[in-house]
């Protein structure tokens, strides 16, 4: 009795299933039935961290993209472009599945992102095999452009450029004779710090590694003091940078403290305390935003612009410029990007054959009078 009910149930479901699938075999996907030349109503995608520990950076980037889209849509009221956001939480785990979702979405014509180097490495092949062009506003790891992914580009100088410039700044402008290098063992941090160390050569006084989320740096401070270094370079992010410089100053260290773009954020001053942060130099491969940028950004996003906002704005604008030039297929957009040359809010932009930005000036931002001076950095020549 049980058996026959079950069998009947299975049979009925199977028949229903078959009959239903027989109903439609159309691929009435308008979007895929030949790309329309106008590419209107399509979307840009953003892949990066919008929540989680690094969420603030992703939100800065989304703000920049939204500003660019807002300006474009005002000029092209009949042919608007939208934005689809994919939150990876900064971790390379979820990124591949999100990448697959992006490439399977036929309304997406290009990707601004991925935000971080880890995600870029995990998804580069996916976008390359699917032929979707991408421009990253912030992933600086050197090895990404060595993978042969011709669809991958970035508008920011990579760690090689930044590290070399930082080392030069320390030995020339800051006049340091012995520089102690510290990093937090993460991919970006180590990449940057090792370039600095190599460039410093004999001026390097020593090297130590700390952990992310470490609060007590007394051992590292002791090492720095006893090495007789007159400058410290930290590769990493603003939280640990702030805590390190604070404890350094408390221990009586008087030399120059320098860090990279991961620390170039007003939160560095909060973490360090105003007096310890005074005089610290934070480098970034981005020029200060044009004076009206923050006002425009605030009008669209109701928040202040932050790190990587201008880069994201420029990345989105390159895609929009491609659309303006009449390109609408991924291959056309990709070749447009490859041959693009222009000036954006973050500086002059053009790409080399590997996807790196051809020239990138590194700027040194200083902390003066208890605040990070974002308007007057010194370019490092």
């Amino acid at each position: 009795m049980i058996r026959s009910t079950l069998v009947r149930a299975i049979a009925v479901t199977a028949v229903l299933g078959l009959s239903v699938t027989a109903c439609g075999t159309t691929n009435d996907n308008k979007a895929s039935g030949g790309k329309s030349s106008a590419a209107c109503g399509k979307n840009l995608a953003f892949l990066g961290a919008e929540t989680g520990d690094a969420g603030a950076l992703g939100l800065n980037m989304v703000g920049g993209i939204k500003l660019a889209l807002d300006e474009y849509n005002k000029k092209h009221a009949d042919c608007k472009i939208g934005l689809k956001e994919f939150d990876s939480q900064g971790s390379p785990d979820k990124a591949p599945a999100l990448a697959t979702q992006i490439v399977n979405d036929d309304t997406i014509i290009g990707l601004v992102g991925p935000g971080f180097s880890g995600e870029s490495l995990a998804t580069g092949k996916t976008f390359f095999q699917a032929g979707l062009p991408s421009i990253s506003p912030s992933a600086t790891n050197v090895t990404i452009t060595q993978q042969g992914w011709t669809t991958w580009h970035r508008v920011i100088g990579n760690d090689d450029a930044q590290g070399k410039a930082d080392a030069k700044y320390l030995t020339t402008t800051a006049g340091a004779k012995k520089v102690y290098v510290v990093d937090d063992a993460q991919d970006y941090s180590k990449g940057l710090a090792s370039v600095v160390k190599t460039t410093l050569g004999s001026a390097s006084a020593g090297y130590d590694e700390i952990q992310v989320k470490q609060t007590d740096m007394s051992a590292t401070v002791t090492k720095i003091k006893s090495s007789g270094a007159d400058a410290v370079f930290y590769g990493g992010y603003y939280t640990e940078a702030g805590l390190l410089v604070k404890q350094l100053r408390q221990a009586g260290f008087k030399g120059t403290f320098m860090s990279g773009d991961g620390s170039e954020d007003p939160a560095f001053v909060k973490a360090a305390g105003a007096s310890a942060a005074e005089g610290a130099v934070l480098s970034a491969p981005a020029a200060p935003a044009p004076s009206d940028f923050n006002a425009k950004y605030k009008a669209v996003n109701n928040a202040d612009a932050g790190l990587y906002s201008t880069q994201a704005y420029d990345s989105a604008n390159i895609f929009l410029a491609a659309l303006d030039a009449g390109k609408s297929t991924p291959e056309d957009i990709n070749s447009f990007i490859g041959s693009y040359s222009g000036t954006g809010a973050s500086g002059p932009i053009s790409f080399d054959s590997k996807g790196d930005i051809t020239s990138s000036t590194i700027y040194a931002y200083s902390v003066k009078n208890g605040a990070l001076d974002t308007a007057n950095p010194a370019p490092i020549k």
């Binding site: 691929n27 994919f86 090895t143 180590k190």
Partner: protein
Amino acid sequence: MTNSFLESLGSGWERLRERYTALPVPARLVLLVLFALFFYALPIVRPPILTTTEIDFGGVMFAAAAFALVALGLNIVIGYAGLLDLGYVGFYCVGAYTTGVLTSYHWHWPFFLALPVAIAVTMASGVLLGAPTLRVRGDYLAIVTLGFGEIIRLIVTNTSWLGAASGIKDIPHPNSIGPNPDGPFGQHGLFSIPHLSWNGIVPLIDSNHSTPFLTFGAVDAIPYYWLLLTVLILVLIGDRLIKASRVGRAWEATREDEDAAELMGVPTFRYKLLAFAMGAAIGGLSGSLYASGQGGYINPQSFPLLLSMLFVAAVIVGGSGNRWGALFGGVLVAYLPERFRAVNDYRLLLFGMALTALAIWRPEGLIPPRRVRRVKQVEAEIEELEGGTVDV
């Protein structure tokens, strides 16, 4: 009220099992095959309520299957042998890194050759971890294993031979069947299986998106999911066989009362070590498959302590000691935050509260093993006979 819902979940499961065992063997086999086929077909069919809209469903299914496999392994350690392991992510990490090192970073073995070596290495690490620590008391064991999980992660982060913080990239995928041209166009695999897209409740065959059978590329997660699912089924069968053998009985005896088991001649230490080793092997297997997954990239960030806690939560919430409960818990923990991405932020908070709530009201989990339900039934009957509990 919630209690009776949970009760009905457990008893519903019981009734399902009874009806299933009442069937003759050929009917059971057919049902099993259909059940398995359903899961294979899931990412192709993409049913409207289950499918995830903001993230690739195939990728989510892959993650869910990986979690389920890990939960199965951890279930052996926690559920069968009664050892609370808070550092299980260490085994996952060892499996992934062994595969990465063998196939990409230092040597270039093909994936299916590296897989058994990864399992063996992880198993060895399980024995190495277990041998000195299993003599330690239950709650201390939990903290020691937590320490070990962290030690493994820190070693991997700081050792350049293992890729240090940059991790290992370009991990090759499992070997494909059928032609595999390089670009996105051209014939892949032996044949292509088109996905279904839904228009309300009417399915349509979407021939623009299809999955080749059987190519492991960087774009489609579904073949990886199928591979993982096959492995999961094999491990499930193995789990069943071992639980029903004298090993499983020894585990049960050790878990319930170690001293009595020793007195009865069960070499408890050896069996505990075996449980650890088997759990480690399964963890390593899952890690290995994860490493050669779609992204082909692993770095130390992917193995945080948090993941250990989620694994434990999966087993406990699902029902520790019941392999189906563990599977269910694993799928739940991996799938729900992706399905409801809006609540993704609250994921940890919800799991934390669920753990505490379950620990207080239903420590046996959502789908507890049969013996626990029987014990609770008996206790409830006794309580009734005695006219209610006495409050001390």
